[in-house]
Symmetry: C2
Subunit: 218 residues, 2 copies
DNA sequence: GTCTATAGCGGGATAGAC
DNA sequence: GTCTATCCCGCTATAGAC
């Protein structure tokens, strides 16, 4: 029986990591880090300012010397998460030769997407799962980046269909489903898991190519 | 630009429906209904007892004549959601002839899964997204049902591989990804959406068969 | 920047009248 | 079953000393 009797976690992963160079130095960075862990575990509304402060080892009042509000801590995390995704997906496609085949482009995109979610599952959980707790003005920059990424994927699929490399029943639904399998990785990938991130990416790239109707040997 | 300037919703759907026959009659049922709407929108921790009561049109104290705690309202919803899923998936497979081909079995399973999430997006959002807010003892029955459904899907894939109908790189990862695309439907399907639930199910069944490596004409 | 102390509010839940 | 009234607690955020 693989049903756990301990508290069901929202995220399987325990390591709480942020991409390199994005966390502010000193206490401010440690607050961001604590917010990452706690928001991922119990959500924005389930996490108190006091819990964040305790996790950092400071008084709750000290937090306000670094962030104007709890919401701003979340807003920073959500923006970092979306920026990292947009950067990686854009880079993955732009690193390819301009005449790269559609299946190569899709593979690069899905690989980057899956690896991102396997490498930063907590960040992805907060980024995707707690965005709704933000005021519209704070959420908007992230939503713009998300739309960019979505367009990137749709364009790759569209190009493949035009080239004859792909066959899809519905462009938007297929893109949505390919996005879904990558996002979902964040909820289960972790150290208790036998597969490495690279292996998961490899399998998921294969799945995405199948979903796009790519035939290696037609 | 398709980035909304209104508050990003957690669920696109607005109709708040529970499966027939599962909601208790009278005030107790209306409380459950209000919990469904509010937990889906702002989460368990983001929803107050007073907000639930106001949504029903009763005093907050009256709620305790029907439920012992806010957590029990959530526990009932989570169990209802998981029971409905287990019932539908089991029925979908058992309704088939015993010698039905693997692709037929997988299609029935995915179709039922997608339609469930398209028909009850709020319930699915609460069921899957707020389960972590429950004490282990309250979450356990749902987790057992979830494990049953997972096994059902894996068995169908396994059988197809043995029959030669399917080719998969990794049984568990493929099952996980097929589950992910169905679950994800709850977050975007809604009345603003052009596709019908049936159409989405049709496309997603095709995607799942592709993911399983099924070849219509080998 | 960090602390102690606290304001001011809203939370879950209960008591007891009707 | 539903209400009014309230308890008690924890919440976000601020004031002001060091």
């Amino acid at each position: 029986m693989d049903v756990p009797d301990w508290n069901p976690r929202r995220v399987a992963a325990v390591e709480a990591a942020l991409p390199e160079g994005v966390a502010p130095p000193g206490t401010r960075g440690r607050i961001l880090h604590a917010g990452l862990v706690l928001f991922a575990e119990t959500g924005f509304h389930g996490t108190s300012i006091r819990a964040i402060a305790q996790h950092v080892g400071i008084n709750s009042a000290t937090l306000y010397a670094h962030y104007p509000s709890k919401e701003q801590v979340l807003a920073d995390l959500v923006l970092i998460g979306h920026r990292e995704m947009a950067d990686r997906l854009t880079t993955a496609v732009e690193a390819l030769p301009a005449d790269a085949a559609a299946q190569v482009r899709l593979a690069a995109l899905v690989r980057a997407h899956v690896l991102l979610h396997a490498e930063f599952p907590l960040l992805a959980t907060v980024t995707n799962g707690e965005l709704h707790a933000l005021e519209p003005a704070l959420a908007r920059p992230a939503l713009v980046l998300r739309a960019d990424c979505r367009r990137l994927l749709i364009e790759v699929l569209e190009r493949g269909v035009k080239d004859g490399a792909f066959r899809v029943a519905d462009l938007v639904l297929t893109a949505t489903a390919i996005g879904a399998i990558g996002m979902h990785v964040a909820s289960w990938f972790g150290p208790d898991q036998p597969a490495t991130g690279d292996r998961v990416a490899e399998v998921y790239v294969d799945l995405a190519l199948r979903m796009a109707g790519f035939r290696d040997a037609p």
